[in-house]
Symmetry: C2
Subunit: 354 residues, 2 copies
C-alpha cells in the first residue's frame, strides 16, 4: 500500500517524479544508459543541470543576470560554513530561531563576530522573535525562513542595507513571497526540491569577492559559479530528480499555485488541532509554519492509541523531531490534500474513541 | 540497445544494481515508500548505511576496530581539503602524478608546508616517479593510487613512519593489495563504488586529533565518526546504491576475484594496443593502469573512421579526458570481458580498413 508520507525530510515527492526517476535509472533519455552511469560532462547531463539551474530561478521569479543558481554538495549544513567563509569579514548578524539557526551561528563564529539579534530559546523556539534591530556595519544578516523542528515560520523578513542570507531548506518553492529581497538563499534539496544529496544555492553575484581571507576552492562560491556548478562531479541523480520535481512544480502552475494548496492544507490541519480538545499545537499562532505542523497530545497517555490509529491508516513518520518529541506533520508540496484530510479524520477518530 | 560503457566516471555499474536501484525508487523494501522519501533516521536506512560501512571495510579486509568507514558529501575534491584540514600541522609530503594530485597539493598549501617529493609533470604525467625519498618529520604522505586522466597506476606504495593517505577514487576495490598499509583512503563513489553523490572515506582513527587548529564541524572527521556518518542528511540514494554494488562485489567473490578479471581485461586491451600498429598506448609500460587505459591513434587522421566504428558498435565514452585528448577506455569492475573484446575487435576492424 502506498503510504501517506508526512516525513520531515527526506520526504514525499510527486508519484510521477518517482516513476520518471525510476525509469531513468534503467534508461535515461532512450540513451541505452542509466542516469547513474553517464558522464556529468555528457551533452545530456549538461542540459539537465542547465535546465535545473534556470528553472529554479524562473520559478522564484529571480533575474537570471543578477542571480545564479548552483547545485552543490554537502547539504544545508555545508552552507552554515560556506556562508561566513565567503561573506564574513568582520561581523554578521543572525536571528536564532532554533537548532539549525544555532548551528549556523556556531560555524560563523569561526570567522568573525556574530551578533545574535534575537532568540526564541527562552520558549524552546515555539515563536519567531519580532521587533529586533539589525545593527549597521554588518557583512550580512542571516535567518532561517522555516524552522523544521519547531514548526515556526517567518511571515516577513526584515529590511536592511546588509545582504540578506536565508536558510530556506524547508519552505523554498512553497509560498508566494518576494524572493528578490534575498541575496543568498540556500536549501538542502530533500524537502521541496528533490532527494537528499544536493543543495540548491542561489546567489546575488554582487555580494561576493568582499572578504580578504583565502577561501579553499571547493568552498568558494566563485569557483562554483565559474565552473557552472560543475567544479567537481556533481550529484547527478539527485540533480536530475530535482529537475523532474521542478518541472512538475511548473506544470502545477508554479509556486503561487502550490502556495494556495499549501495554505489550504495547513488551514485544514490547524483548524482540527484548534477544534479537537485532544491536541495542542506547539507553535505560537501567528508564527505557525505552513510546512511543518507540530503538536502534542493534551493527554500523553493516549499516544499508544493515537500511534496505532495513524499507522493503521497508512500514515508514515508523524513523530516529532527526536530533540522535541510530540508530533510533526510535514506537509510539503507533494503531499496531497487527501493525506491531510485523512490525518484530520484519524484525529477525530481518536476523539470519538477517547 | 544497451551500451558498452567505457566512461571514466560516473561509469558503468552492474545491471542488477541498476535494476534493484530502479525498483527501490518506486518501493523500498516493500515499505510502500520510495528510497527517495524515507527519513535517513528511519530504521531501514540506518541498517543500509551500517551495512555499507561494514561491508566496505570487510571487502578491503580492514580491521573494524582500527578503521572506520564514512560516506561523506563533497566528492573526492572535498577530501583534498579535509585531509590537510584534519592532519596538516606543519608539513606534509605529496607525490605529484597528475591533475588530481596537483589539486590536492594546492589545497594542502593553505594549511602548511607541502613538500612535493617527486613529479612526473616533465612527461605530462605518463609515468609514476620512483626512487623518491619521503622526508622525516612530516605529518603525512599523500599519493593518488590511480591517475584516471593519464592511465598510470602505482604498483606499490612507499613505506614511511608517517601516516599514508591515498586518493583511490579510480581503483579502490579493483585490485588485491594490502589496504592496511594506508591510514586514510578516500574515493569519490562514482567509479567502483556507486553513483556520483557520495564519497567513501576510510580512516585509521589513531591519526586524528593531532592538529591544533579549530576545524569547522562539517569538515572534521571526528564529527562524522561520532555521528556514525550521519552528521547531517546523507546522500541516501547514492549510499543505498553503493551498498547494492558492494553486495554484488561480495557475491562475485570479493576484491581478489574482481582483481583477476580486471587484470585479464587490461591484458587483453594492452596486448591489442601493443600489437596493432595503428594505436600507441600513452602510459609508460610498467606504470600502466588496469582501470583507465589511455592511447592515441598513430595517425590522427583515422579518428573519424575509428570514432564511427566504435560508436556503431555501441561503445560509449571512449574519448580521452578533455585536458589530454586521445582515447581512454575505462574498464571498471562492472565492465565485462565481452565489452573489452568488442573494443579490441573494433581496433582490428580499423586495421583491416586502413
Ligand atoms: C531549516 C534547516 N536547515 C538546515 C538543515 C540541515 O540540512 P542538511 O541535513 O542538508 O545539512 C535542515 C535539515 O532538516 C533544516 O530543516
Ligand atoms: C583520482 C581522482 N581523484 C579525484 C577526483 C575528483 O573527484 P570528485 O569529482 O568526486 O571531486 C577524480 C575524478 O575523476 C579522480 O579520478
Ligand atoms: Mg529548526
Ligand atoms: Mg486542540
Ligand atoms: Mg589524474
Ligand atoms: Mg600499437
Amino acid at each position: 500500500m502506498k503510504k501517506h508520507n508526512f516525513s520531515a525530510g527526506p520526504c514525499i515527492l510527486p508519484a510521477e517524479v518517482f516513476q520518471q526517476a525510476s525509469e531513468a535509472v534503467l534508461d535515461f533519455n532512450n540513451s541505452g544508459l542509466s542516469i547513474l552511469e553517464i558522464s556529468h560532462r555528457s551533452k545530456d547531463f549538461v542540459a539537465v543541470i542547465e535546465e535545473a539551474r534556470n528553472l529554479a530561478l524562473e520559478l522564484l521569479q529571480l533575474d537570471n543576470n543578477k542571480y545564479t543558481a548552483l547545485f552543490l554538495h554537502g547539504g544545508a549544513s555545508m552552507q552554515f560554513l560556506m556562508t561566513p567563509h565567503n561573506l564574513l569579514e568582520k561581523k554578521a548578524a543572525y536571528l536564532n530561531t532554533g537548532t539549525w539557526a544555532s548551528k549556523a551561528i556556531k560555524e560563523a563564529k569561526l570567522f568573525g563576530e556574530v551578533i545574535e539579534v534575537a532568540s526564541s530559546e527562552d520558549k524552546n523556539f515555539n515563536y519567531i522573535p519580532k521587533n529586533f534591530e539589525i545593527p549597521t556595519g554588518i557583512d550580512y544578516f542571516h535567518c532561517t525562513s522555516n524552522n523544521t523542528i519547531y514548526g515556526t515560520q517567518l511571515k516577513s523578513f526584515p529590511k536592511s542595507n546588509a545582504p540578506l542570507v536565508c536558510d530556506m531548506s524547508s519552505d523554498i518553492f512553497s509560498r508566494d513571497i518576494d524572493y528578490s529581497q534575498f541575496d543568498l538563499i540556500y536549501a538542502g534539496a530533500q524537502k521541496n526540491i528533490g532527494p537528499a544529496g544536493t543543495t540548491l544555492v542561489i546567489i546575488n553575484k554582487a555580494i561576493l569577492g568582499k572578504v580578504s581571507r583565502k577561501i579553499p576552492s571547493i568552498l568558494d562560491y566563485k569557483s562554483h559559479i565559474e565552473k557552472e556548478s560543475m567544479f567537481n562531479t556533481p550529484s547527478v541523480f539527485a540533480i536530475y530528480t530535482s529537475l523532474l520535481n521542478l518541472r512538475w512544480l511548473k506544470k502545477q502552475g508554479g509556486v503561487s499555485a502550490l502556495a494556495k494548496i499549501n495554505k489550504h492544507k495547513a488551514e485544514l490541519l490547524y483548524a482540527e488541532l484548534d477544534r479537537n480538545p485532544l491536541f495542542t499545537p506547539y507553535a505560537n499562532k501567528e508564527d505557525r509554519s505552513l510546512m511543518n505542523i507540530t503538536f502534542n497530545l493534551a493527554n500523553p497517555e493516549l499516544s499508544h492509541t493515537f500511534d496505532a490509529l495513524w499507522q493503521q491508516a497508512g500514515i508514515n513518520a508523524l513523530n516529532g523531531h527526536r530533540s522535541l518529541g510530540g508530533y510533526r506533520a510535514s506537509i510539503y508540496n507533494a503531499l496531497t490534500v487527501e493525506s491531510v484530510q485523512l490525518l484530520t479524520e484519524v484525529m477525530q477518530e481518536l476523539e470519538n474513541k477517547a
